[in-house]
């Protein structure tokens, strides 16, 4: 791809058989991430992740000797169908890889369009298990592990804490339902009991009925699978006498965030949560802040960063920037070889003709053949008095299990 190039428009003839087209020498990365809609709050860290990676890649000399071009677009949410527009535009601009979307639902509406254009669809945040089996012509990848692993770990954590009656309160969407199912499986097989599994409408005006439903089942632990509705649900839980001082509450990646400015001290003390990804170092956070000084949250920034870096490495490894070429090398650069953790180092190894294994900021990222991270680290965290979360431990897991 490459918008400014005058190369003939050959990079994206549509067909289901992988076209053996050659790229135009400029790696073009399209970011399809939420600027508006329900997930708008996830946009800034994800954009920052992509931007940071692109900056570092270009600082290291770019890909195939040319600077990487980044094009930002809005993925909106499923309500607006804006993603489809954005993809049209990115394809027009000869994007080779499209990084996004945040929501599994949005990704579903565009995956066919992207993959049938021979472009890599690379999501930093889709966790729906369905993508593993989706007919993606080998072009769909993600750095976020499917919910199977996180659900398993969270369920086990709940069992370990001795809660035999568990209530699950989850977003009624593919993320929430998928994760809730995995948690339920894990809890029941571990000997616990899921006494209520309540899906809520994220756009609801209030959550008192949903919480009342949970309360009537009298649980000892609550798994709260939510996004930023958490700030509405926690007070409701407290109101109905289900605060973290009364029952054990568990968060997931969707809502494990810094709530120090949202709640008075102590509100969340004791709440535990799981988050895919290795420790994102303070160093990484600092670098992100140089890209976007207003960042408050870092969710999926590492995944976005890794997705971008991997794309660049795969293009280098393939010596071609076309989508299909990148896809053919992505699995290879993610595992089985000499380990490296940043673009510059990996690039040097590649240039030296070595096989590399990129380990990113989000974890070891080893792709399975389906394009999912087959191995992932899940961190277990706990909130302190200051409503910030601290890591207790990390757990490596094999997604296929």
């Amino acid at each position: 791809g490459g918008e400014e190039s005058a190369a003939p428009a050959t990079s994206a003839p549509a067909s289901s058989s992988a076209p053996a087209a050659k790229g135009d020498g400029v790696l073009t990365i399209g970011a399809l991430l939420p600027q508006t809609g329900d997930l708008a709050f996830l946009g800034p860290p994800e954009f920052a992740g992509v931007k940071l990676a692109v900056q570092e890649i270009n600082a290291a000399g770019g890909v195939l000797g040319k600077p990487v071009v980044e094009i930002d677009t809005d993925s909106g949410d499923t309500k607006t169908d804006i993603a489809s527009q954005s993809v049209d535009k990115l394809l027009q601009q000869k994007a080779d890889t499209i990084i996004g979307a945040a929501s599994s639902g949005v990704s579903k509406t565009v995956i066919d369009k992207i993959t049938s254009a021979g472009v890599v669809h690379f999501s930093p945040a889709n966790t729906s298990p369905e993508f593993t089996t989706y007919n993606d012509k080998g072009l769909y990848f993600r750095t976020a592990p499917s919910d199977v692993l996180q659900g398993r770990v969270l369920g086990d954590l709940i069992v370990q804490d001795g809660s035999d009656s568990v209530a699950i309160l989850n977003r009624q969407d593919s993320y929430g339902n998928g994760l809730a199912d995995e948690v339920e499986k894990s809890v029941t097989s571990g000997g616990g009991e899921v006494v209520s599994k309540t899906a809520y409408d994220p756009a609801a005006a209030d959550f008192s009925a949903d919480v009342a439903k949970i309360k009537s089942s009298n649980p000892k632990a609550i798994a709260l699978i939510a996004f930023n509705e958490t700030t509405k649900i926690i007070p409701e839980l407290k109101k109905q006498g289900l605060g973290p001082d009364k029952v054990k509450i568990y968060f997931v990646d969707g809502n494990l965030a810094d709530y120090s400015s949202d709640f008075p001290k102590g509100t969340l003390a004791g709440i535990k949560g799981t988050l895919p990804g290795a420790a994102s170092s303070d160093d990484f956070k600092k670098k992100l802040l140089t890209v976007d000084p207003e960042l408050r949250d870092y969710s999926y920034a590492p995944e976005s960063y890794d997705a971008t870096t991997l794309t660049a490495l795969a293009a280098e490894a393939a010596k071609d920037d076309s989508g299909t070429a990148i896809a053919s090398k992505l699995v290879e650069v993610s595992k089985g070889g000499e380990k490296c953790t940043d673009f510059k180092a990996c690039l040097d190894l590649l240039k030296a003709g070595k096989d590399i294994d990129y380990d990113g900021v989000s974890g070891p990222v080893e792709f399975s053949d389906a394009g999912d991270p087959s191995e992932a680290t899940i961190g277990i965290y706990q909130y302190g008095d200051d409503n910030k979360y601290k890591n207790i431990t990390y757990l490596k897991g094999n997604v296929a299990g």
Partner: protein
Amino acid sequence: MRSAVIAFTAFLGGLILFLAAPTAWADGEALKGTLQNQGQPVSGVKISAVTDSNAPVGDATSDAKGEWSIAVPKPGTYKVTLDAKTLPSGVALKFKDRSSLTLQVYEGNVRNVLFPLVSAGAANQGGGQGADTNTDTVWDELAQLLFDGLALGLIIALGALGISLIFGTTGLTNFAHGELLTIGAFIAYVFNTAGLHLLIAAPLAVIVAAGFGYGQERFFWGPLRRRKTGLVSMMIISIGLAIFLRYLLLFIFKGENLPYEQYVAQDGIQLGPISTTPKGLVAMGVEIVVLILVGLALMFTRLGKATRAVSDNPALAASSGINVDRIIRIVWAAGTAVAGLAGVLLGTTQILNYQMGQQVLLLMFAGVTLGGLGTAFGALVGSLVVGIFVQVSTLWIPPELKTVGALVVLILVLLVRPQGILGRRERIG
């Protein structure tokens, strides 16, 4: 009082942290667990594990802390069984049929196993909460839902009142009304974050909102009406305005949920079967007072009657010596002020977000319509019905569909009473 609570939760939190932190995951695959009855460790209970081909792997006995663990040779499926005979007297398995569990142990992970125990006698067969989710809790839940329905209904009513007033006087179905709530809430937020206590910020916000409503009519809707813009056009203009305002708010305040600085996550208080928060009660009080005041004003003051007169026939109202423009401006100011108040209260009891108003817009419309368009009391009654239905219907339908319940009621009621609950039918001929 508050600080005491915080200190206590902090202590608890610390305690859990301390307990949980060290023993998380050991290297190598294993099965482990802790036996507890009502928080007390249960020791001396025998637990054994076999592979899925019934080859014994090992067994263990719970120690003084109730802990046990069995190392397994490799990842795979294992069957773990608790020997119920070894349980101390007075302690029983909570689920008699689940004395053995089949589970998967993953590579490099320790798998936790839980055998829930209860004091003998309380055990029940199989899963489920069993007989003690009795009628009592159903009534409690109903009471709670009714109360929450009332709370929601009152907020909706406050918003709906504004819709109804503005619709009543100008005929405009204002799709931007949700944003008026949001704006009210965010004005208070701005004052609040600038250092004013919410109790000062809120009334200020209501005043500013009133000014905003006045200005909107003065400089936007009024001129449009004078240009003889049709009602349907105005309705669609309001859609455009709603989109504009909503995204302006997104632009300024970002997509995150924002709380006020005071009264966040208040502890619940218990009133009989009902749990609520002090702020929730105060909000309801304010809502009731405002609703009654506005209702009375509409019924009995000259101004109130004038608004109805303007709504019926603006030309005739003018012919009667009523300054129609002035009335409409007052209505806009009042309608926006109550909407702003609703927004602030919604922000206090829930949270602020650029979509908060939009999320209740349909409910407000449903309330207004259910009660009978253009009648202020109808809006009140309709909103309460909607609010209560949203909440109470979750006794029978999954909460994800709670809005559906209210909307179906709306349609059913209109099937029987096309003019709404308090609406009046027009005379023909």
